[in-house]
């Protein structure tokens, strides 16, 4: 860390209509929020100087996030609460930051630290019961692996490794919700709605995934011991 630079970690959400934004669009939007908020952001000293900021793992277009994180380096120390209030006031409501704190420079980067993500996939339609959806998922998971086609390439996920926690299906008003936790790896992460879709297809259930939300992004402190990045 350059002298007089402070690393501020900000938690924000990506929800409502803004779930339709791409990761790059989210980054640009938050960088502009930071400038509007008047933060004393640090500048990189490269050929093309730009704001010194780093973001957590990308969320796909269409997927919402409830606990997303960014780090921004500021040159003036102001209380995290004051900075948070300024940021909130200059960010579109559906991407509002809700927590902020300073973190030590020696902490690993968000992308390196965050390896666990919890998701909720909303499944619509009362024609399939929660129990049927649970059984469908259990059956796919017990098969051990899932191959996924993406942009012409096939990827095979080892589900025992990719899903470090049991998949749980719960009731909700207009269908059910699938809660699952995914381990992210350098070779890419399993997209939860693809697993759920495959389960529904294999069990010939007509229900469809309507919304996917990443409910948490977590750091694995020890095997099975997870914590939020702030």
């Amino acid at each position: 860390m350059a002298e007089g630079e402070f690393r501020l970690r900000v938690a924000y959400r990506k929800g409502g209509r803004l779930r339709w934004l791409s990761h790059l669009e989210v980054i640009h939007t938050l960088e502009r929020s930071i400038r509007r908020a008047g933060l004393s952001y640090a500048i990189t000293h490269g050929f093309s100087p730009h704001m010194k900021a780093a973001f957590g793992p990308a969320l796909p277009v269409g997927t919402a996030g409830e606990n997303e994180y960014l780090d921004v380096w500021v040159t003036r120390y102001t209380s995290a609460q004051e900075t948070l209030a300024a940021l909130k006031a200059s960010t579109p409501a559906d991407m509002a930051p809700f927590a902020a704190c300073y973190v030590a420079e020696k902490e690993p980067s968000l992308t390196a630290a965050i390896t666990i993500a919890a998701y909720r996939c909303d499944v619509a339609g009362k024609e399939s019961t929660t129990r049927e959806v649970q059984a469908a998922l259990d059956s796919v998971v017990s098969a051990g692996s899932l191959s996924v086609e993406h942009k012409g390439k096939t990827k095979v996920f080892d589900l025992a490794r990719s899903l470090p926690k049991e998949v749980r299906v719960t009731d909700r008003e207009d269908g059910c919700s699938v809660e699952l936790t995914v381990r992210m790896g350098p070779q890419g992460s399993l997209r939860p709605e693809l697993l759920v879709r495959e389960a529904l297809r294999a069990a010939s259930l007509s229900a469809a995934v309507t919304h996917t939300t990443r409910t948490d992004t977590l750091i694995e402190l020890d095997e099975g011991v997870w914590a939020r990045p702030m």
Partner: protein, 622 residues
């Protein structure tokens, strides 16, 4: 009427289309007022990423939303994947802010940006479920009003609009809304409402003007309904500083063209380039003062959070206080990573010096100069007051200052052009390359690039060349090959404009109202997004012209006699026909005309007829 919110239906479609951010609204500074008594929707007839940065829409959006009981929303033309899904599922065109069907608004404003968007205007109306032609609309339908750069010959799209605003909208838009609201309050019929709109200065109501053609389909005269003005003269704002700049512009989520905060620093340009429509129709020059510019740039950056500001105009380096502005802004932006950009550069030492000021310490991405023609003779004909010495001197300074890339704009097909003029382009490019090379240290010469972009001249209305022929395909191809043979082989990237596209531009630029039938037919046969290269089909347009009996070649590729009636002469941009004819004569004799902002008045008649003056550095020059 209860407001219809289409969002639940729209959201269903988003998972299956590209770039859903085009359709979701909720950007920073978007205005939401769903309960206003009077509601307008401003439409740019191209995709969101093309239209979002349009400054005219930003200005009108701000003005309309500040009017009492009035709300303005935005709408862009959905890309083909989305419009396809909308038609399949019965979702009509919707506004972004409240997701209301466009047809439910009181006023639908559609920009007429340039000739290749005409099919998009029909696509817009059709997706909205509004009858394409004004004559088929009833009291149930919104008023459809056009305006923008191509409104100076509105005829090829005139039947699709209830009214077209000619000229600048800052003051006119309030007058239009007031006239429409009073007409509604009095319960006037649609015809009565249109008659009232025609009494608003600058508003052209096509239904009140009937073109008279001869047996061969040639334009003879415009028959004007009693009470409507014989000539509709453009609206113009006297003092740019008195008009609020849109400093709280909407900040898009997705990447768009001109993705930066833009501030218009001056309007108009009186250099008098004879091919340039903008230079003729946006007269006179009116500058914002340095104080206003600095204030608005700082406010705009604070409101939007952009990391780049562009000082926009037709000729920003002509602003009389530019150096002061750049120095003041440079001081205030130091250490913020915010950069300044200038859209175009004057071909002289001052231009390069200004580029150096804005790039101080940062990257030098490339400079653009527009000599437009290759020989001094040709440049004198078009009144481009730039010499070879100016250009080579500018290039030398730029490369000595560290730039390694330069882009040059030229035109072929200008009136009186000979092969010698075309070869002159190649010679000039060769000289530019050699000067650039010599000014570059030997170890850096590998990165040296000279890009050359050559377009085909399209004569535009309200310019001294409005009577001239546009060269035909075979001649364009022949001249392009002359040019190719004259170009240096090494270190030069050559880009062409597609002659097939220039042809359609030419037909739309000077066509009369009969061309509207072909526009409609071409659209019915699938023309839409013609400005997107992969979508454009000349044969589709040729078929449409043939089927509607329009001799498109006679519109684009024919020289007109000076006394021939012109289908756009009921529209005035302020400059008189007398001036245009005089300028054409001077062009043909190779005589240049000075810039009236700095030398004497050249009697274009814009100031007198419009009741305005040139405004430089805050002072009027009457």
């Amino acid at each position: 009427m209860t407001r219809r919110d289409l969002w639940p239906a729209v959201e269903q479609l988003l998972a299956s289309v590209e770039r859903p951010a085009r359709y979701i609204d909720r950007e920073w500074a978007a205005c939401h007022d769903e309960d206003a008594a009077y509601r307008a929707v401003l439409i740019y007839p191209d995709t969101y990423e093309i239209g979002q940065a349009n400054q005219a829409i930003a200005i009108l959006y701000g003005i309309l939303n500040a009017l009492p009981d009035t709300a303005a929303e935005r709408c862009y033309l959905p890309w083909l994947d989305m419009s396809g899904r909308m038609r399949e599922t019965g979702v009509p065109l919707f506004s972004l802010e409240s997701c209301t069907p466009v047809a439910d608004f009181d006023l639908v404003g559609i920009t007429i940006p340039y000739e290749l968007t005409y099919s998009n205007i029909l696509e817009t109306l059709d997706l909205a479920g509004i009858p394409l032609r004004a004559e088929h609309r009833t009291d149930e339908h919104p008023l459809v009003i056009g305006g923008g750069p191509s409104a100076f010959n509105p005829e090829p799209v005139a039947p699709f609009f209830d009214a077209v605003l000619i000229g600048e909208g800052e003051e006119a838009v309030g007058d239009i809304v007031a006239a429409h609201r009073s007409a509604k309050a009095e319960g006037l019929s649609r015809a009565q409402t249109l008659a009232r709109l025609a009494s608003v200065p600058g508003v052209y109501v096509p239904a009140l003007y009937e073109p008279v053609l001869d047996a061969d389909g040639r334009f003879l005269a415009m028959q004007v309904v009693e009470g409507a003005p014989a000539v509709v003269t453009k609206r113009v704002v006297r003092d740019l500083d008195a008009v609020r700049a849109p400093v709280d512009a909407i900040v898009p989520f997705m990447d768009v063209v001109h993705d930066r905060f833009g501030l218009e620093v001056l309007r108009g340009c009186t250099r008098g380039c004879r091919f340039c429509q903008a230079g003729m129709v946006y007269r006179p020059v009116r500058e914002r003062t340095a104080d206003t510019i600095v204030r608005d740039v700082m406010a705009g950056l604070a409101c939007t959070g952009y990391d780049e500001v562009s000082l926009t105009s037709l000729s920003t380096t002509d602003h009389s206080q530019l150096e002061e502005v750049l120095r003041r802004l440079g001081r205030r932006m130091q250490g913020t990573g915010v950069s300044i950009s200038l859209p175009s550069l004057r071909v002289d030492a001052f231009g390069v010096e200004m580029a150096r000021l804005v790039s101080a310490g940062g990257k030098k991405s490339g400079l653009t100069f527009a000599p437009e023609a290759g020989t001094q003779r040709m440049r004198d004909v078009i009144n481009k007051n730039v010499t070879e010495e100016d250009l080579l001197g500018s290039v030398q300074r730029a490369f000595e200052a560290g730039w390694r890339r330069v882009k040059l704009y030229f035109m072929i097909g200008l009136p009186t052009e000979t092969d010698e003029d075309i070869r002159g382009i190649g010679d000039l490019v060769g000289k530019v390359f050699r000067v650039a090379r010599e000014a570059t240290p030997p170890q850096q010469r590998g990165g040296l690039r000279v890009a050359v972009s050559v377009s085909t001249f399209v004569p535009k209305v309200q310019t001294p060349f409005q009577w001239d022929e546009q060269i035909g395909f075979d001649e364009i191809r022949r001249r392009q090959s002359v040019l190719r043979d004259s170009m240096p082989r090494k270190g030069v990237e050559l880009h062409w404009h597609d002659p097939e596209v220039s042809f359609l531009e030419g037909v739309m630029a000077r066509g009369g109202r009969e061309v509207a039938d072909a526009v409609e037919l071409a659209w019915r046969n699938g023309a839409v997004f013609d400005a997107w290269t992969e979508r454009y089909s000349l044969s589709r347009w040729r078929d449409a012209f043939a089927e509607t009996g329009i001799d498109a070649t006679a519109i684009a590729n024919r020289e007109r006699a000076l006394d021939e009636p012109l289908p756009w002469s009921h529209i005035s941009a302020g400059v008189s026909a007398r001036y245009l004819m005089r300028e054409r004569e001077r062009a043909l004799s190779g005589t240049t005309t000075p810039d009236c902002s700095f030398d004497g008045c050249t009697a274009c008649d814009a100031c007198g007829d419009l009741g305005v003056d040139i405004v430089l550095g805050g002072a009027s020059r009457g």
